[in-house]
């Protein structure tokens, strides 16, 4: 049946099928809050445990295994490595060469000395960063942003906060697009966007200014349009659908939270090295 025929047939018959579509794998279909809890507790645990073994184990258990199950491992590795690359390079360079507490010299480049202790510290931090990055990347690769917001709104987050979250997701690319248009317009007027740092810095102001001012100028009309559609009504609003949740998942969430808190306490109390 053609698309429009199908839609017409469904019209007036409840929730359209394109809303509330669930994900391709079991991991995708987990409740968004569960996935967010997994990501956050893994990241916090990676920091709390410290060392090298801890984050590596967490990486394997809480990031790589689920990523395999969800079929996103390749994307995860690619994105995660890319995102963490700048900070990873910094960590390596700074700690390898500029680690005053280090004594064991590895090699020397001119006046700077690479130390073994520095390398070890750098690797520990890197492991932690990869664990955090992996955990968060896994989350957004398997969750649609609006799903998390809808779930939170169902659980009681204010409709206005949910609005801000949802609108931000759309406003960011829209603003980039507008910045691109303004850049083109300014270039046509002779703005120089290549060249030295100073020139590029000066080139930013004629772009940033109109982008921000233009966006703020729209606030008036958008405010009126929203109010014309009942936005001022206090209290909750109706949700068309919400992601499913299961008691088992709630149990897992609480278990993870308790586990991480226990880990932090144990660590602070000095039981673990």
């Amino acid at each position: 049946m053609a698309r429009s025929d199908r839609l017409s047939a469904v019209a007036g018959h409840g929730l359209p099928d394109f809303l509330g579509r669930t994900g391709p794998t079991a991991y995708h279909r987990l409740n968004p809050l569960t996935k967010a809890t997994i990501a956050t507790t893994s990241a916090v645990a990676a920091v709390a445990v410290g060392g090298l073994i801890g984050p590596a184990v967490l990486l394997a258990l809480a990031v790589i295994a689920p990523a395999l199950a969800a079929g996103v491992l390749r994307d995860l590795v690619r994105t995660s490595v890319l995102l963490a690359l700048p900070i990873a390079i910094s960590v390596l360079v700074v700690n390898l060469f500029f680690y005053p507490e280090g004594q064991t010299e590895l090699f020397r480049i001119g006046p700077v000395v690479a130390t073994a202790e520095g390398l070890r510290f750098a690797v520990e931090i890197l492991a932690r960063i990869m664990a955090i990055s992996g955990a968060v990347t896994l989350f957004y690769l398997t969750t649609r942003p609006s799903d998390l917001v809808i779930d939170l709104e169902r659980r009681g987050i204010s409709s206005r906060v949910a609005f801000v979250a949802n609108a931000s997701v759309q406003t960011v690319p829209a603003m980039v697009e507008r910045a691109g248009q303004i850049t083109d317009a300014q270039r046509a007027r002779g703005l120089d966007t290549e060249g030295s740092v100073w020139r590029r810095l000066r080139g930013i102001v004629p772009i940033v200014g109109p982008v921000i001012l233009g966006s703020i100028a729209e606030v008036e009309e958008r405010t009126m349009a929203l109010e014309a559609r009942g936005f001022t009504r206090p209290g909750r609003r109706t949700l068309l659908w919400a992601p499913a949740d299961r008691p088992a998942e709630a149990f897992v969430r609480w278990a993870l939270l308790v586990g991480v808190v226990a880990l932090i306490v144990v660590r602070l109390a000095g039981i673990l090295p």
Partner: protein
């Protein structure tokens, strides 16, 4: 469901001059009324006042009486008023809620805000999409639609609130000819179904096609009012800053040249 403005005046916040003075207007159910006038003549202000956004959303000072079926609406909060009077604006993109990924959710936005039961929301949304003839756009991303389609989407979103009156401030102003056609056709269908619409327009042809009655504003006051053919044929229009419809201009030109305009009328009647 009658919306009445009696002796209404409005001053924007911080303005020394009033933008509207002594406006009397009555919108009865099932009528399509046109609002004409030069830019800055008060058309937009009148639309905002009629919908209650002025002064609720934008501040400013109001004078006179606004009533729905005789009941004063001064104390009505905006979300209650939005279910009586819906207002659409010129810019198609600025009316998007920005939280909807599909046109369906965009139309459902209003009813969702009203906390109606879920089935009611779904029913109204489908109904509005069908009324505007855009059911096949339901799955599309609102940001990717054409200007005309976005305006239809905006109007559908308003209709889903089931207002008694629809106020449209120059809905075709930012549209290309295709979009204008799309919107005016949809409005004509709404009118034929008995909707009550107040539409502000610079394009006199649109007014001629849609409206039965027209009000002309100048400097915030009502200067002409009556049946649309009479108002649009009035010779004072150009000095009030309104361009008469093409047919009217042609008739005046012919008359001015001494040619009998009766032939033109016959030809137009037959077209």
């Amino acid at each position: 469901m009658t919306l009445t403005l009696a002796g209404v005046g409005y001053r924007y916040a911080g303005a020394s001059q009033a933008a509207l003075l002594d406006v009397d207007l009555e919108l009865r159910g099932g009528e399509v009324v046109g609002l004409a006038g030069a830019s800055e003549s008060g058309k937009t202000t009148l639309c905002l006042v009629a919908a209650g956004l002025a002064p609720r959303a934008i501040g400013g000072l109001l004078r006179g009486r606004i009533a729905i079926d005789g009941a004063d609406i001064d104390a009505w909060p905006m979300h209650r008023l939005s279910q009586q009077v819906g207002i659409g604006f010129q810019s198609p993109a600025n009316q998007l809620s920005q939280v909807a990924v599909t046109a369906f959710e965009e139309v459902a936005f209003g009813p969702m805000n009203l906390a109606l039961p879920r089935d009611e929301v779904l029913g109204r949304t489908w109904g509005a999409l069908e009324t505007l003839g855009i059911v096949d756009l339901a799955e599309r991303d609102p940001r990717r639609l054409s200007g005309g389609q976005q305006q239809l989407l905006a109007i559908a979103g308003l209709i889903a609130m089931r207002p008694a009156h629809l106020v449209l401030d120059e809905p075709t102003a930012q549209l290309d000819p295709q979009g204008t056609r799309l919107v005016t056709d949809a409005l004509a269908r709404l009118a034929a179904d008995g909707a009550s619409i107040l539409v502000a327009e610079q394009k006199a042809d649109v007014l001629a096609a849609l409206t039965s009655r027209t009000v002309v504003l100048a400097a915030g006051r009502v200067v002409l009012t009556g049946a649309t053919e009479d108002v649009l044929g009035d010779p004072r229009l150009p000095e009030l800053g309104v361009t008469p419809p093409a047919a009217v201009r042609m008739r005046h030109a012919l008359r001015g040249a001494g040619v009998d305009a009766g032939l033109l009328d016959e030809a137009l009647a037959g077209a």
